[in-house]
Symmetry: C2
Subunit: 200 residues, 2 copies
């Protein structure tokens, strides 16, 4: 089961935003929304074997993490506005701070919210093969990619030095997708197509 | 210069639609909008060497073709709503029916509209190396792809038999992107990444 962890440094952490101005009113949550679409949509149906984490670090209640479980997802459509609406509903839940922020609350089927941030998300990945996407890495086409690989990437902005340090503790392979730096959602599309070509 | 031709069988041909319900009110223009984003956006800047055609065949005034010229594009943002707004403006222009529908009117920089359909668009491609995207084709990774390749694909629906017949007159290579059928915009992302990896 491939997984993606996308860090949204400025992405809002409550549901009090306008669906009519996603780029302007959400700390570029629109970028993360497109990552969700890229993670799950096939021409006919959803990628049920993918799991995607959006780590939201913007105001007013950072951090929060949204987990999208492909196996359970319902009501997801490929347009930005409807996905934004599902996320808004998720951010209106109160997951509480029990268990060091690891407690998850399900909002709609397959969408979970917690008060965890990047450290709590990475903690779940420590037994898995981790790949950090970085334009200076080795080309993914020259690497062996296990089916249960976890890919970590920044949304609008690159990971900070501190975040990279956290990820490096998981001993990741650092991989690039090619010579041009892509939008986060386009990275996810390319990675999944690459895995399709290896394993199907 | 790679080019893409995407056929929107039901996509609306006037600008009288709601930005708040793109999937429901536009004949799935949202799918074509995501094709535009996939065609042009890099993490920093636009792909100035790409040209993308959206062939709109829905009511009330079919056909119309929108041409997006990467070299000239301005005001394009990566979110769906703002691109929909640019398209709405383009569909409010009147390109007239002169010169068999080949007359183009520029709406905003880099966005052109004409009353041509698929035949008129393919006419422009007849000197170029044409690739038809089809899940039964040979894998693109095993093919030689020239830098000025033209890729033809359906938006929401596959090309009709008549449309495939028109394309076949250009003697295209029929290529697949892998074992899973992808959304049209995801196809464009994968093709451009493949070309990046060959040529850059």
């Amino acid at each position: 089961m491939p997984a993606f962890v996308v860090v949204g440094h400025r992405a809002v952490t409550d549901g009090n935003f306008s669906l009519n101005d996603l780029p302007g009113s959400t700390g570029r949550l629109d970028i993360l929304i497109r990552c969700v679409t890229a993670s799950f949509f096939l021409s006919h149906g959803l990628r049920r074997n993918v799991e995607t984490y959006l780590v939201l670090q913007g105001e007013p209640e950072p951090p929060k993490t949204l987990r999208f479980a492909g196996a359970e997802l319902k009501y997801l459509n490929p347009d930005e506005r409807s996905t934004a609406s599902l996320i808004r509903t998720a951010l209106m839940q109160n997951p509480g701070r029990e268990n060091d922020g690891k407690r998850e609350v399900q909002s709609t089927p397959g969408i979970y919210v917690s008060r965890g941030g990047l450290p709590e998300t990475l903690e779940k990945m420590k037994e898995k093969p981790v790949f950090l996407l970085d334009e200076n890495g080795e080309n993914i086409r020259d690497k062996n990619i296990p089916e249960d690989a976890v890919f970590i990437l920044g949304g609008q902005l690159d990971l900070t030095e501190n975040e990279v340090e956290l990820v490096m503790k998981l001993n990741p392979d650092v991989v690039s997708l090619g010579p041009k730096k892509l939008h986060a959602s386009h990275c996810i599309t390319v990675v999944l197509n690459h895995i399709d070509n290896i394993y199907d």
